[in-house]
Symmetry: C2
Subunit: 122 residues, 2 copies
Amino acid sequence: MRNRKAGYACKHCPVETTLDIIGGKWKGVILYHLMNKTCRFNEMRRLMPGISQRMLTLQLRELEKDGVIHREVYPVVPPKTEYSLTAFGETLKPIIQEMKRWGDRYEHHQEQQLEDVDQNKA
Amino acid sequence: MRNRKAGYACKHCPVETTLDIIGGKWKGVILYHLMNKTCRFNEMRRLMPGISQRMLTLQLRELEKDGVIHREVYPVVPPKTEYSLTAFGETLKPIIQEMKRWGDRYEHHQEQQLEDVDQNKA
DNA sequence: CTCCTTAGTTACATTCATGTGCCTACGTCA
DNA sequence: TGACGTAGGCACATGAATGTAACTAAGGAG
């Protein structure tokens, strides 16, 4: 997300605010992985084969700026950086977990839709 | 969202699936309003001053296709169309409500950050 | 002395999402 | 007879989001 430059849906809608933080193509998944454990940069790349180096950096920076994750740089060589949820980021866990559960259910729902085909309606 | 044409983050991540449905600039807010009550098309436009006619149509169509909302057209004149959550869409309520609550808390958090400024870190 | 690794950065290109403006059908109201 | 309101559709334009490729620093391994 983070595309609010084009204007907000309604003024001050908290749902919109939340989606600003965790929406977008990658952030949800990033947070999902960080929920389990602290991760290094390339470790996350391996967890998310689809993401490019650049995008991962950008998304992590935004999450950091929003105070959701913490970035710990170790001045060693080769470089070592660890990402983890902040205490505030931990408060996102219920949302992410709900989203995971719902996502599972949705996939199940999709299969059913293929059977229903016609008599849908609620 | 619905920008997965460029590929998925990880294969089969339920969080990603969920964000496909409710992510994007408008869908969260649309669902937020439909959680409270059935709405007509122009009624929603009034609730979300920022959205254009075209985008509202597009988003509603996608939500309908995903089986989350129901579109009831009354063959009267002037046209009347009512949008409501399907039973399946109702299952999204916990997520939307969590997002609303978190959004509220986040705004509160931001104010604090302005004070902390330096000694942040978790 | 060359290559490997990590965690980036930068410039450039493209694709997707979203926005704008104009058009319609029909019945009602003035 | 003409304007109004609803729920859109369509063509076109723009900008945001994302992708690709090449580059870097520093120490260790060979």
